[in-house]
């Protein structure tokens, strides 16, 4: 089990719309976490859902939520002062590594990568970040990455901003031009599949954050299983090499 304080009923301290229907929310609990770890947030009468920790400060912890359905809608509707119940952090976080890391985020996938960028920046790594989205107003947390000193490039599927194409395509181009010693990514499955392939082909070590339906979050129900691994316990961060293996055995995606 991860070192976690169990259940916390936390008060919402801040809320900011960082993209179209996407909110950065800070709450007043202090969680010891590793970038990539997640919490389970309970929206009474609706659902309890996993959210990566996206930022934190000395007296708060934060998440960034993209509204996609009922529970995220409810979470996106909390106001300052409201209370939410949080448990965790759960799972295995990223292993910060490399002097020239490349971070690739698809959509809300930027959330777990942001605290990693902060950690890497602290290690004086020269970070390059690719932030992709379908369209300009869905780009998430780009300023936050730049503020950390990451060379940040943008991609949009519709070309409304930055590179015209997917984050995975921009990643392939970038890896072709520059040298990296690690790749970290989070985003939709097809993106991860492509990046796994890019990393393997170029011999670059890396990790990805993987999403699966979560129920218990504590490694007991099996709902998040990929083969014999549990995303909530053994993940959500997996080595790209391991994902490649699972993929070639048809055990994932």
């Amino acid at each position: 089990m991860t070192d976690n304080p169990g259940y916390l009923v936390s008060k919402v301290l801040s809320k900011e719309e960082v993209a179209h229907r996407c909110f950065k929310i800070g709450f007043d609990s202090i969680l010891k976490f590793q970038p990539g770890q997640f919490v389970m947030i309970w929206l009474p009468d609706i659902d309890e859902i996993p959210m990566s920790i996206s930022h934190s400060g000395p007296d708060f912890t934060g998440i960034t939520v993209k509204i996609v359905g009922e529970a995220t809608e409810a979470l996106g509707s909390v106001s300052k002062g409201d209370r939410i119940r949080v448990r965790g952090p759960y799972g295995k976080g990223f292993e910060p590594s490399g002097e020239r890391p490349l971070l690739v985020a698809g959509g809300i996938g930027a959330a777990p990568l942001l605290p990693l960028a902060k950690q890497l920046a602290g290690r004086k790594s020269k970070i390059r970040a690719i932030i992709g989205a379908r369209t300009q107003n869905e780009l998430v947390l780009t300023d936050e990455f730049s503020d950390l000193g990451a060379e940040t490039e943008i991609s949009t599927d519709d070309g409304s901003a930055g590179f015209h194409g997917t984050a995975a395509e921009l990643c392939r181009e970038t890896v072709g031009k520059l040298e990296f010693d690690s790749i970290y990514c989070c985003g939709p499955e097809p993106m991860i599949v492509t990046i796994v392939e890019i990393a393997q082909r170029n011999g670059i070590w890396g990790q990805a954050s993987v999403e699966k339906m979560m129920k218990c979050g504590i490694g007991i129900c099996g709902s998040c299983a990929i083969s014999d691994r549990l995303v909530c316990r053994d993940g959500p961060i997996f080595d790209l090499a391991h994902l490649d293996e699972l993929h070639s055995m048809n055990k994932i995606f």
Partner: protein, 303 residues
């Protein structure tokens, strides 16, 4: 001293008396295999029904300082899909038990037949889930339905039939006897206790389904009592479950009368490696106390 923890259960050899309890990570063939790799003598699948089922809304678990509550509500992919999953176990040497749930004898029988065909060494009837409408304990707390369902299954399959009993009753012995009359080859005691939790600061029940099942340490004294009572009354073997976390816990269940034990909640902390750990502790106990065969422990607390 050489000790043996091998057991024979309804004519089948198990390398040790520990089993993965139903519903704990038994959702994929790979996870079942990882339990075996972790040291389990046998594995029980998640309880499977006829149709895919999402189960209850989250939160589906609540951690409690001496156990946990769950109200998963029997989420499962349905027997059609699960049969394919189980086909991956073909050819592997693994003692696996298919757990099934249904609303009546014919549903249970149909599922049991499918499990038999899929290669299950035995079938376990979930007559005891405390938080699913019209299923589990709702039918399993009536001795007559227990007998009818067990009988329907027993007459449909060749493999041994195990009835999993509920402790949410005033008389578990009546349920055990009903299963025995119906032709069960063994019983499992216990499933979870009907329970709930409340989050005072949000003024809400802490489980999506409100009512759930309590498992883990908290229920061990209840599980031991049920096994003890059943051992005095039944001729068929009893498989103990409820709060087993260590070899000593397992020994207590064996002494109460269990022939084998199931481990569920404790896996949360230690993963599948807990089976090997429990087995090593049972062996240590046997060595230091001078028992050669693990079967020698059975029912000792009744002398």
């Amino acid at each position: 001293m050489n000790v043996s923890i091998e057991v024979e259960l309804f004519g089948q050899r198990m390398k040790n008396p520990t089993m993965l309890a139903s519903g704990i990570l038994g959702t994929t063939a790979d996870l079942l295999l990882s339990a075996v790799k972790g040291g389990a003598g046998a594995v029980v699948t998640k309880s499977i029904g006829k149709k895919p089922r999402d189960g209850h809304a989250n939160p589906t678990v609540f951690e409690y300082n001496c156990g946990m509550l769950n109200a998963l509500g029997l989420p499962n992919p349905g027997i059609d899909h699960f049969e394919k999953e189980l086909s991956k176990l073909k050819g592997k040497e693994i003692f696996f038990i298919g757990s099934v749930f249904g609303s009546d004898g014919s549903e249970f029988s149909e599922l049991a037949v499918r499990m038999e065909r899929a290669g299950a060494s035995a079938v376990e009837l979930n007559l005891s889930c405390p938080h699913a409408k019209g299923l589990g304990a709702e039918i399993g707390s009536d001795p007559e339905s227990v007998e009818i369902i067990t009988q329907a299954v027993a007459s449909s399959v060749e493999i041994p039939v195990i009835a999993k009993l509920t402790p949410n009753t005033s008389d578990i012995v009546a349920l055990g006897k009903a299963a025995e009359r119906g032709g069960a080859d063994a019983v499992v005691a216990i499933n979870t206790l009907k329970a709930m939790a409340i989050e005072p600061y949000l003024r809400k029940p802490a489980l999506g389904n409100v009512i759930g099942g309590l498992s883990g340490q908290a229920v061990k004294p209840v599980g031991l009592r049920c096994v003890y009572e059943l051992y005095e009354a039944l001729d068929i073997p009893i498989i103990g479950a409820g709060g087993i976390e260590s070899g000593i816990d397992a020994v207590e269940y064996l002494m109460a009368g269990a022939s084998a034990v199931q481990v569920g909640t404790a896996i949360r902390g230690k993963g599948m490696a807990i089976f090997a750990e429990i087995c090593a502790e049972i062996e240590d106990f046997m060595r230091s106390e001078g028992y050669k065969e693990v079967g020698d422990l059975r029912g000792l607390a009744h002398d």
